[in-house]
């Protein structure tokens, strides 16, 4: 199977980068975190649906969490480095908890918005403009 993956151009490229063979480093996680973060930001910016915006926020927080965990993980640290240790994990934990709370509040806002506008299109929330 692996050889099959390796035979495809993409898989071969990944092999060439050593992704299948080399141990991962913090930077690997940081890349994932960066992509998640960017996707979240783009989601927040692009979506007109309030729930889509909310999902963007979740993605952003999640991207940050990936970084925290990566810096905290003893598995990923290079020789001689110990990273954040436990603190990173605990912060990630708090981020998850607060994200849950944030989602509850945001949903309540969305719900009220829906009650007042009969839609969840955030572009329609322009009642306050002068």
């Amino acid at each position: 199977m692996i050889s099959l993956i390796g035979s495809t151009p993409l898989g071969g490229g990944l092999f060439a980068m050593g992704l299948f063979t080399e141990p991962v480093s913090v930077a690997h996680y940081l890349v994932v975190g960066a992509i998640l973060f960017t996707a979240g930001i783009a989601c927040m910016a692009v979506k007109r649906n309030a729930l889509g915006v909310l999902m963007g926020i979740e993605l952003v927080l999640n991207g940050a969490n990936v970084n925290f965990v990566a810096f905290a993980s003893p598995y990923l640290q290079a020789e001689g480095s110990r990273g954040l240790g436990l603190d990173g994990q605990v912060i990630a934990l708090f981020v998850i908890l607060l994200a849950a709370a944030e989602a509850a509040v945001a949903l309540a806002i969305t719900l009220n918005f829906y009650n007042n506008h009969a839609t969840v299109d955030v572009d329609r929330a322009d009642d306050l403009k002068g």
Binding site: E22, V31, A34, I35, T38, E58, L59, R82, A108
Partner: protein, 243 residues
């Protein structure tokens, strides 16, 4: 077919397969899943599909946490984040289901703009991610079994883990206070959510009007009712018998 097989054999012999690092392979799997699904969230227009992609992305991230030895955080992510998204999904269905599969479209211009901005942001982030020498060095290797004990103890205010190498003395505190603050915070949110979602007894005169509106119209042809515009009137209904 033969060519493919010989090519496969060629690659297989050419690559140092014995040196496959499963940790890295699984990392790659989860990482690709997380990133692709995150991008799919942006690309999708249907809320339910977006929620599905989000769940997959969050689940894959939980897998990354497990791989990084943060099992407790990973399980927490699965339980809370993904569970929270479930509610999001339900709301997505409820609030946008006036017609089946309604999607609020994004303008193409917005999308292009977001693409440009996102790409530049990503470039900056990647640049910084690769800028530190220490972060790029591959991991030293497998360490001891992870346990959730240090986290549990830390949340109770006692640190039993080893301090980081460069940590200045005296800054290592437990997390009892933040833990309590978060608990109270969650309680507040819980109460608030219950307040918002609670069913209210109606005050006075509108009851008559609503009760009257619940009475069946003289001739309720189902087809006529189907054709009726979704009135979206503030719901007030008769629930059950006098329970």
């Amino acid at each position: 077919m033969m060519a493919a097989m010989s090519a496969t054999g060629l690659v297989a012999t050419a690559l140092p397969l014995a040196a496959i690092n499963w940790h890295s392979t699984f990392f790659l799997l989860f990482a690709v899943l997380a990133c692709v699904c995150a991008v799919a969230v942006v690309a999708a227009d249907n809320v339910v599909r977006m929620a599905l992609y989000l769940v997959l992305s969050l689940g894959a991230t939980a897998g990354l946490f497990f791989l990084a030895g943060a099992e407790f955080v990973g399980a927490m992510q699965l339980m809370i984040y993904v569970g929270g998204t479930l509610v999001l999904l339900v709301f997505g269905v409820m609030l946008t289901a006036q017609a089946p599969f309604v999607s609020i479209k994004t303008a193409p211009g917005d999308r292009a703009l977001a693409g440009i901005v996102g790409a530049s942001l990503l470039a900056v982030l990647l640049l910084s991610a690769f800028s530190v020498e220490e972060w790029r060095k591959p991991a030293a290797g497998v360490v001891g079994e992870p346990t959730a004990t240090p986290i549990g103890m830390a949340l109770l205010g006692v640190r039993v883990d080893e301090p980081p190498a460069h940590a200045p003395a005296g800054v290592r505190s437990g997390y009892l206070l933040p833990f309590e603050i978060v608990s109270v915070h969650l309680l507040v949110v819980l109460v608030a959510a219950a307040y918002l979602a609670r069913a209210k007894r109606r005050k006075t005169p509108r009851a008559i009007e609503v009760a009257a509106s619940v009475e069946p119209p003289a001739s309720v042809a189902a087809h006529a009712a189907i054709g009726r515009e979704p009135a979206g009137r503030s719901g007030s209904v008769l629930v059950g018998g006098p329970r």
